[in-house]
């Protein structure tokens, strides 16, 4: 589904050069729930951004469904992000001037979808995350767990094939974190959505089908590879 080949990412500022990713090769298969763990600053977010076509690698290739994206125009990349990928962030990134349902509709705004259809799909997505009773609220009237559920509903509204979640439970207490994790697991198991999740929580990572560990910009362990070796 998403293939990373020999990815190298170097951030250059005037004074320093940071190698955020070094020789990363990774193939995320359709239907997988992959968790990524590693210490802070080891390049997890950078990896997710590159997978999500938000950032370009310094060298190496990204392919979606076998198609390399290197030569894609800005608007073609935007279209791929819009139709294939859903993002969930640690700090939710909701628009605080828009109501819950308007936030959830956002991805559909960048497609040719009628207003009533948008509303219908947004409400369906909110139902999946158990927020049907909060559609007219504004984000600042919700708890952290609820906000993250809105963000997941927003990712779902676009009906993506893959969800990229960067520490989705990082700002939440364990109870709310569990709720979010349950929603993601259900999506993966019942709807077959591919998920790549960055987490610091070992217990959550163990619930997924594949655990990749990073250290200093490099993959140091991949549970699927380990299993194959055993």
């Amino acid at each position: 589904m998403i293939q990373l080949i020999d990815i190298e990412k170097v951030y250059r500022t005037k004074t320093i050069e940071t190698v955020a990713l070094h020789r990363v090769n990774l193939h995320v298969e359709r239907g997988e729930f992959v968790s990524i763990m590693g210490p802070s600053g080891c390049g997890k977010s950078t990896l997710l951004n590159i997978m999500g076509l938000l950032d370009e690698p310094t060298s190496g290739h990204v392919a979606i469904d076998g198609q390399p994206v290197k030569t894609h125009s800005d608007s073609k990349l935007a279209k791929l992000r819009n139709e294939k990928i859903g993002f969930v962030f640690q700090s939710y990134h909701l628009i605080y001037d828009l109501s819950v349902v308007d936030n959830v509709e956002l991805p559909l705004l960048y497609r040719n979808v009628s207003g009533s259809d948008r509303r219908k799909r947004a409400l369906e997505a909110l139902e999946k995350v158990g927020l049907s009773a909060r559609t007219k609220h504004f984000p600042n009237q919700l708890s952290g767990g609820q906000r993250q559920r809105v963000a997941i509903a927003r990712a779902l509204a676009g009906n993506p094939e893959i969800i990229l979640a960067d520490e989705p439970t990082g700002n939440l207490d364990s109870v709310m974190g569990e709720e979010i994790m349950d929603i993601l697991l259900r999506l993966n198991q019942e709807e077959g959505t591919t998920i790549v999740m960055v987490t610091h929580d070992e217990n959550m990572a163990l619930k997924t089908n594949r655990l990749i560990r990073f250290f200093d910009g490099q993959q140091v362990a991949d549970s699927r590879v380990l299993e194959a070796q055993i």
Binding site: N49, L54, A78, R81, E83, F87, I95, D97, L106, G115
Partner: protein, 393 residues
């Protein structure tokens, strides 16, 4: 998308309040200044009804009060002026010659129409030739008027319409006082002599009769000179005339000079207003630009998010330009509420077309200004790297 932008701006109306107010006031100021400008321009493009090239003007100021003596001198002066080969035509007049700072009014009544106010111009028959007036109905003054029972007048079309509507004007009699009457002998299409920027008013001409016993002193004298008559002739003429009218002051000017100084009465305030307005609008533009810039920095994460969920950089740019136009629309709508009262309630008696034109032009300028101010910040917003904007520590 447009609905989305309206919703976004509406929900942010508190933070956009200042901008909306600025747009509102700019629109009103532009509307006022444009109304003034367009009104003047409309007037300027209307026909004057006379030509002023090669027309000179003398101001006659006798020093003594002896009317009989002054009248005799005056009769001699006009004869002498006409005898110069450089002078084609000349006529005595009251002081309300074209572009002069002087007006004379009289009220006329006809049938049910009571006290119609009109400018009255006392002139000699040659006045027509001096200013190239064209009579469209009836005739101008002539020798046959000497025998007429009533006082002949020539009126402009505007006065004709006010007094008689669609009726024939020639031959109509208008009371002057209990014993005498005016007789309309001719109509001219236009006579708009006070200022190029003023609308035409009702006007009529009365013929000066120097043979009348109780004649009046006329201190204006206009003449059409041959092309090329210049300073040398002017000096010669003044010298000769001073010999006839000893110790009178005689000033010479041209209608062209008078036109220019009259025009300044309108153009100077207009330019001043335009400058003030331009300065104001420039300030609003700077403010608009600054607020946009600030907004875009504040909404860094939002821009990153929108890019992540599928907005192309072009769509980001369009969104921000669109938002500014929506803000401008809100300000405009408020301004319109006020501005439309002017044509609807007929404030200031300007024709409503002028108000509508000003409203359209002011709205256009506001949108143009908003777009210009929005383009650069929006372009910057579209260039933000989504990964950087979404970066969280």
């Amino acid at each position: 998308m447009i609905r989305h932008l309206f919703k976004l701006i509406w929900n942010q109306k508190k933070s956009n309040f200042l901008l909306i107010t600025e747009i509102f006031f700019s629109f009103l100021v532009l509307f006022a200044v444009l109304s003034f400008g367009i009104y003047n321009y409309h007037n300027y493009t209307k026909p004057l009804g006379f030509t002023y090239d090669n027309v000179w003007q003398l101001w006659l100021n006798p020093q003594t009060d002896s009317t009989a003596h002054n009248l005799a001198v005056q009769r001699e002066l006009i004869q002498r002026v006409k005898s110069f080969p450089e002078v084609e035509h000349a006529s005595l007049s009251n002081s309300n010659t074209p572009f002069a700072f002087s007006q004379m009014n009289n009220n006329l009544s006809y049938g049910g129409k009571k006290d119609i106010q009109a400018n009255v111009f006392n002139v000699q028959a040659d006045y027509q030739k001096v200013l190239g007036l064209e009579v469209s109905q009836g005739r101008w003054f002539g020798p046959q008027d000497k025998a007429s029972l009533h006082k002949p007048i020539v009126i402009n079309q505007k006065l004709k319409e006010e007094l008689f509507g669609d009726e024939e004007a020639i031959g109509k009699l208008l009371p002057i006082n209990d014993s005498s009457q005016y007789a309309v002998i001719g109509v001219i299409d236009h006579y708009r002599s006070y200022s190029e920027f003023d609308p035409e008013e009702a006007a009529y001409f009365e013929c000066i009769n120097l043979d009348e016993e109780k004649s009046y002193f006329w201190n204006g004298l206009v003449m059409k000179v041959k092309p090329g008559a210049g300073v040398a002739f002017e000096e010669k003429m003044v010298r000769e005339l001073s010999r006839i009218a000893k110790d009178w002051t005689i000033e010479v000017t041209t209608l062209e000079k008078m036109r220019q100084s009259k025009a300044k009465m309108t153009t100077v305030p207009m330019v001043a207003l335009g400058l003030v307005c331009g300065f104001l609008v420039f300030n609003v533009a700077l403010g608009l630009f600054g607020v946009l810039w600030y907004n875009i920095n504040r909404r860094y994460a939002e821009i990153g998010l929108r890019r992540a969920i599928g907005a192309s950089s072009k769509q980001i740019r369009n969104q921000f330009v669109g938002e500014v136009l929506v803000i401008a629309t809100f300000g405009l709508l408020l301004g319109l509420l006020l501005a439309v009262q002017f044509p609807l309630l007929q404030v200031f008696q300007l024709s409503s077309a002028i108000y509508w034109e000003s409203i359209a032009a002011a709205a256009f300028l506001i949108f143009l200004l908003a777009t210009i101010c929005a383009i650069y910040p929006s372009y910057q917003a579209s260039k933000i790297y989504p990964a950087v904007a979404l970066h969280e520590e």
